[in-house]
Every structure is written in C-alpha cells, then in structure tokens.
Symmetry: none
Subunit: 158 residues, 2 copies
DNA sequence: AAATTAAAGGTCAAACAAGGTCAAAAGGTC
DNA sequence: GACCTTTTGACCTTGTTTGACCTTTAATTT
C-alpha cells in the first residue's frame, strides 16, 4: 500500500466500520507501537485524515487510562438553512483541493451523491481545472463546491 | 526510434495497455532515472502527450509516497462522435454562461445527464459562482465544463 | 489531603521525500 | 534565420516521518 499514514488511516477506518456505534477509542502509544512509528505520527494521521471537514470528531484525554476517541459524524441536513450552516463550517471562504475531496468523499459515503455526481464535482475542483494562482484558486474552489452542493438541495424539502 | 519524449510516451502507453484498469501509477523520479533524464522531462511528456484532449487524465501527489497517475478515458466508437462534438463546443478557450447552459441543456435532453447532474453543472458555471473578472471568467468556465463532461466518460464502460 | 510520580497525550520544528514550474539552452525544419 | 519542439537545470511547493520537549490526568506515597 501507500504511506504509513495511509495504512494507519485505513486501519482506523476499518475499526470504525466494524464498530456499530460509529465511534472508537484507542491508545495513541499502543497504535504507534503497533505500526512501530513515533506517537506524533498518529496525530498527523488524525489531523490530516480525520478532520471535521471529513466528518470526524476527535477527542482525547491525557494521563493514566488516557485515550483517543474518534467519532464519525453523520450528515444530517433537513433544510437549506442547515445545509448552508454546515457548508459555512466545513468549507469556509477558502478550500484546498484535499479538503474539498474530503467533503465530496464524505457526501458520497453518506449516500447523498452518486458516483457520477462525485466524479463531476471532483473534476470541477481539481487545480488543473481551476487554472488560477493560489490565493485566488482556493477561494473559487470554496465557492464552486458550495454552489454545486447547494444546487442539489434546491427545491428539495427535507 | 524518435526522441526521448517519444520513447517515454510509448513506454507509458504500453504500460497502460498492459494494465487491465486503464490506469497506471508511476513515480516521476523513478521514470526519469530509468530514462536518465531530468524529472521535468516527464512533465513535458505528460503535458504534450497525455492531455485531456488526447483522452487522458493525469493526477499527481507530492511528498512522501507521491506518484503520478495516468488514467485513460475510455471512449468507444459509439460515444466518441458525441463527445467530439461536445468538446468542439467547450474546447474553445473561452465560454460564455449562455453557451455553457446550452451545452448542458443539450446533454440533458439527449439523456446523458440526470436532472441532478445538470443542476450541479449549471451551478458550477454560473457567473456568481465564478467570481472572476471577465476575460478570465469565460476561460475558467470552458475548462470547468470540459473537465466535468470528461469526468462522465471516465466511469463509462464501453 | 498534599505532594510526588507515572502514564498518558500534545506541539512544533527539522529532516526527508516526493512532484511542479519556468525559463534558458539545444536541436530540428522550412 | 525564424520558428517550433525538446531537453536541462535551478528553484519552489506540498506531504510525510521523526524526535525533543511540554502539559494534563491518574495513581501512589507521605
């Protein structure tokens, strides 16, 4: 497979999928030992792969009996107002390609997008497509993804 | 044999033909070493021989575990002509919103797009979404629509 | 109960490992 | 010689891994 980070990511996602609750608790040091890496590697995985844009909440506790808890947040949007708020939080003014792909992936996994729809969106936000210089590109990308997602809820109640 | 570029091109196309998936992943630096050339030579090959107009999609990732992925977009005789026509329209450097909407409308009417898919595309190319000044905006719009349309051909089996 | 110690997890920057860009130089072609 | 394509190299940006040092909390001792 790919990098260490990728391996740890998929290990954790498998654990999450296996737990009915959509929630797991692990010990950072134990995981680090398991993959024979530095403990801080785990934090790297958590921040790059289990961010809030990607639909995860990470909580932790230090000290004896400490743990890291990863919670999968289901998307639950019932109206356009809620959706707008969600998009405000997860997209913001500026959006990197990676973060955008995370959002699309999440929507797909939650069953809000078909495969084709996610392909379209992914193509749209690629940096090659958005041939712009960097401060600007991320702004347009945020706009773009927001508009595309919002379009799906247009005229859709509940 | 021709130039170095030709050799690299045919090497990659052979790899692509050999892979069942119509998709390969390579490391730029490895390939460059293999042909004992500058890494940037690989980029030259990619942009001149594996462009989207030529039916390829190139994605890449930097950093540790980085790669270059080349995807062959499957285009069969059946849809090739349609695609070519559509690209003729969108392939122009520049595209107005009206013209773009026309293309989307036509695709929808011909049954290539679902209603939702056309909503996504329409939202993407709106001038409010593409908050850019005018010479630039139409350029990006053309890119955008082209990329989105091509994305659909990606998952199509002949 | 307070102080101490041990057991977690957190942060940050440096080192490392890719790929990208751009312009200049080199080769061909008419 | 003018023009186009190819080749090279210097410099840039992004993503990953590691390690030294810090903070918080629980358990143990006094």
């Amino acid at each position: 497979m790919g990098t260490l980070t990728d391996q740890i990511e998929s290990y954790l996602k498998q654990m999450l999928a296996g737990s009915g609750e959509g929630l797991i608790e692990i010990q950072r040091s134990w995981l680090a030992q398991m993959f024979s890496c530095a403990p801080s590697q785990i934090n790297y995985v958590l921040t790059t792969r289990f961010s809030i844009e990607q639909g995860y909440l990470v909580e932790s506790r230090r000290g004896g009996g400490g743990y890291v808890r990863i919670v999968r947040l289901p998307i639950n949007v019932h109206n356009e107002e809620q959706l707008r708020k969600l998009l405000e939080i997860t997209l913001g003014e500026s959006l990197s390609q990676q973060a955008g792909e995370g959002v699309i992936q999440r929507l797909f996994e939650e069953g809000h997008l078909t495969d084709r729809e996610s392909q379209i969106m992914r193509a749209a936000i690629r940096r090659e497509t958005l041939a712009l210089d960097l401060p600007h590109r991320d702004l347009i990308r945020a706009n773009l993804l927001r508009a595309m997602i919002l379009a799906l809820w247009q005229g859709m109640d509940s």
